[in-house]
């Protein structure tokens, strides 16, 4: 039986998506960190979370 590898916050997109949006906002809008570096870190995490979440819903 396939079971999700990750639990916790990854289970709930209502938690993960706002966290990612907030992290992006803080890093770019408040801390003024370089856009490429921030996106290179956040985008894979965001896509990975969406992928895991999609897999768990199936």
């Amino acid at each position: 039986m396939a079971r999700p590898l990750f639990k916790g916050p990854f289970k709930n997109p209502a938690v993960v998506a706002p966290l990612i949006a907030l992290s992006t906002f803080v890093a770019i809008g408040i801390l003024h960190w370089p856009l490429p570096l921030v996106l290179l870190a956040i985008v894979p995490v965001s896509i990975g979370a969406a992928f895991l979440n999609d897999g768990m819903r199936r």
């Binding site: 949006a21 809008g29 370089p34 985008v43 992928f51």
Partner: protein
């Protein structure tokens, strides 16, 4: 002092790279443009950056006119052309390639994850752009109040944003901003 060709190369390199990270559209890259053009290169002051943004929003056509204005400020007509081409060229090619591939993989799990995963990042970048622009443009309580009122009108009411532009322009003409 940089040579003209050096400035053009710097413009081209910066906007070509930045365009590839403008997730959600050109306005998502506003914080990066401000960081680089104002804080690092000192090409523009905060005021000039805010004015360029306002002009880009008011003029018909794409929002990316701010890129053209920054380029013009740095190196005249040549700078405007180079900055615009650097911002639009790589992303146009990328959009063409990705668009074609995207049609074939609409039902793929990675395609759905890619679409869903980029949404919260885009939201964060949009909020960042709004914050950066507000921080450089609002130097009085009237300006801050106009920003807040416009945000509330846009969020809670179905009023075309042009009315907010008109009201703010009138306040500006009256010397209140």
């Amino acid at each position: 002092m940089k040579s003209a060709s050096g400035s053009l190369f710097t413009l081209a390199a910066f906007f070509a790279v930045t365009s590839l990270f403008a997730v959600g559209g050109g306005n998502s890259a506003i914080p990066e443009m401000h960081r680089y053009a104002v804080d690092i290169q000192h090409w523009l002051s905060d005021r000039q950056f805010a004015d360029s943004f306002a002009l880009a929003q008011l003029t018909p056509g794409p929002n990316l006119i701010i890129v053209t204005l920054i380029g013009y400020h740095v190196a005249g007509i040549a700078g405007a052309v180079v900055a615009t081409l650097a911002m639009c060229g790589p992303t146009s090619v990328l959009a063409f390639v990705v668009g074609r591939a995207s049609e074939r993989f609409t039902d793929a799990a990675w395609h759905r994850a890619l679409s869903r995963g980029l949404i919260p990042v885009t939201l964060g970048l949009t909020a960042s752009s709004a914050t950066v622009i507000a921080s450089v443009a609002d130097h009085s309580w009237v300006a801050a109040a106009i920003t807040l009122a416009t945000a509330c009108i846009a969020f809670f009411m179905r009023v075309p944003p042009l009315w907010a532009f008109a009201a703010a322009a009138l306040l500006g003409l009256a010397g209140l901003v």
